[in-house]
């Protein structure tokens, strides 16, 4: 009986509803936004990479972010097409060169250098170049005679003579024969037409 009375007593008590929520009214709207009494643990502010055992990992991350930042900055700094930029640089170089050439003092120097160059060119052209060309032509002929293969030897000597002429930049003048000038003109026309075709 005493036990039953005990149960009745317990049932008579008001059992709090565990699912019922009570809304607390407050006058301070920032109450839940301030950190008063809600400070985060110090560990939360610690180095985010401290968990990584390898220190190089964090270093790598820093470098990567730095590079990415630089790239973004570079991309933003490009305000004109690359072709315009190259043209602008080219024009700058061209104008500088023209200024240098038209400068009176430098003009004399360039003229003197040109004269000296011509003299050297003449010496090389008519002495060393010709000598080399002749001796190699002779060598080619001798080889072709010895080996009885005329085609290859002659072809080599002709090509070598042409190469020597090209290297020493033989000056076009009336000293050359009409036939030579005609050949040169034909070759020049071929070069021009080839360059026009390539450009097209």
């Amino acid at each position: 009986m005493a036990k039953i009375q005990k149960i009745e007593l317990n049932l008579g008590q008001k059992i709090a509803n565990p699912f019922k929520t009570t809304r607390k009214s407050t006058t301070n709207p920032f109450k839940y936004n301030d950190f008063e009494g809600n400070t985060l643990d110090v560990a939360a502010f610690a180095d985010v990479f401290s968990g990584a055992s390898d220190k190089n990992f964090s270093k790598l991350k820093m470098i990567t972010s730095s590079v990415m930042g630089s790239m973004t900055k570079l991309r933003n700094s490009i305000t004109e097409p690359i072709v315009n930029f190259v043209n602008r640089v080219k024009e700058g170089i061209s104008s500088t060169w023209n200024n240098t050439i038209h400068n009176e003092g430098l003009k004399n120097i360039t003229e003197k250098l040109q004269t000296t160059g011509d003299k050297i060119g003449d010496i090389l052209n008519y002495d060393i170049g010709k000598g080399l060309s002749d001796s190699l032509s002779g060598l080619g002929k001798t080889i072709s005679d010895k080996m009885n293969i005329t085609g290859i030897g002659e072809d080599l000597s002709t090509k070598w003579a042409a190469l020597i002429g090209k290297i020493h930049g033989r000056k076009i003048s009336s000293d050359m024969t009409v036939a030579e000038l005609k050949d040169l003109w034909i070759k020049e026309n071929e070069l021009i037409s080839n360059s026009v075709k390539e450009a097209a």
């Binding site: 076009i172 009336s174 024969t177 009409v178 036939a179 000038l181 005609k182 003109w185 020049e188 026309n189």
Partner: protein, 119 residues
């Protein structure tokens, strides 16, 4: 702008005394598809101031003073006008006016002769 090497070749041929230089200038220069090369060659032939070179630019249709390009024709006429010794030019112009079969060539020769008289 005429190619530098081509200009040098034409100058070298102009300075040549060899008669074959005129043939080369006519063959490669006055027949060139490039107006500037034709102009440069025509002037070079006038500067030579010999009968054969002047004949190329005066009596040939489509060459020298008869070129279809006004720039080439005018440039050739200008070079003729600036010659010191005009005796050979006048002789060829007279022959062209009197004997050439093509009326356009004759007319052009007449015009150049008039300009020479005025200059």
């Amino acid at each position: 702008m005429i190619n530098k090497n081509v200009a040098e070749i034409i100058d070298a041929l102009t300075a040549h005394q060899d008669h074959s230089s005129i043939e080369v200038l006519e063959e490669l220069g006055t027949n060139s598809p490039d107006n500037e090369v034709r102009e440069y060659t025509s002037r070079a032939l006038v500067r030579k101031n010999v009968h054969d070179s002047l004949a190329v630019v005066i009596i040939n249709q489509g060459k020298g003073i008869n070129d279809l390009s006004p720039a080439v024709a005018m440039s050739t006429i200008n070079e003729i006008l600036s010659l010191k010794d005009k005796s050979e030019v006048i002789k060829i112009l007279d022959d062209t006016i009197n004997m050439h079969s093509d009326e356009t060539v004759k007319e052009n020769a007449r015009s150049v002769k008039s300009l020479l008289a005025l200059s």
